[in-house]
Symmetry: C2
Subunit: 174 residues, 2 copies
């Protein structure tokens, strides 16, 4: 076996849950992260470095956040700040977990269309591979929605591994 | 980090070079194998087990092997035997390498359509993930040929990582 040189750099694209009022990492993001630790990193924490990328869609929160009224530039400034706080909160989950188990990591936020930005960041950062979670949409939904994971698997300039959420993890209607 | 329990089982689909008269593992198979060792297994050889699957296309050798004359059932029997020898020779390359570095492995041969058989074997063997090499066909070639890796990425019931051959490894015309 080759001597352990530079760690393997794994980029993990993470997003928020789409459940309203639940400002946490999505089930598929956490699933992809847990899978990477359990199946790839295992006990070899010094052999890997995790790179967490969270892409915020610029307009998303403006439409979702029905309690906000945007009447002045300051309102937008505070909204942007709030987004940033939420993004940092999201990344904190992953960074804290890495810190607890002693694996090196970096985390950052970008704005834009997630699939485009992820591929752009792959080109810029050059990870050894990319891990993306997937909600596991059925063929009917996929035709209309497409998925970030499918786009990245096709267009990202590095190997991509897609971790599908298992059926048992799909949230039930309340 | 969780204690090291059962090793992570990685299935690696391998095939022969398509160069005539070159009965060795394809460049893309070797690339996928080398990548897996370097980027995933690293020094943690006890944490992983590699499962090598080689799928032989039943008719392929009958058409390719222009030196053979099939005039009796015995000729076909010997051809089948010859195929088997070639498959074993191919798998020996990978098994020997694993043995040299001390990583557990299994290897076996199946007959049929590679993409269908690989997905079937994933269902049967239940690896943690599947690694497939890809020749990195351009969009024009892909429309007509399709690729085993694309089919598996879509249909295999486990995570799939496709390792594309780099441009520098593409053989030149002699």
């Amino acid at each position: 076996m080759a001597a352990e040189g530079e760690p393997t750099r794994i980029m993990v694209a993470v997003n928020e849950s789409t459940l309203k009022g639940y400002p946490h990492a999505s089930i598929s993001s956490r699933g992809a992260f847990d899978w990477t630790l359990k199946k790839i990193v295992r006990s070899n924490t010094s052999g890997f470095k995790l790179l967490f990328l969270h892409v915020q869609v610029p307009d998303e929160d403006g439409f979702d956040d029905v309690d906000s009224i945007f009447a002045s530039p300051e309102d937008f400034a505070s909204m942007k700040h709030q987004n940033k706080i939420r993004g940092i909160h999201l990344l904190e989950y992953f960074v804290k977990h890495c810190h607890d188990i002693g694996i090196a990591c970096e985390a950052w936020i970008k704005k834009g269309d997630p699939k485009e930005v992820i591929c752009h960041e792959v080109n810029r950062v050059r990870p050894d591979f990319l891990v993306v979670g997937s909600r596991g949409l059925g063929p009917f939904q996929r035709v209309f929605v497409g998925t970030v994971s499918e786009f990245c698997a096709k267009h990202a300039e590095c190997p991509v591994i897609t971790i599908k959420r298992s059926a048992s993890e799909t949230p039930q209607d309340p």
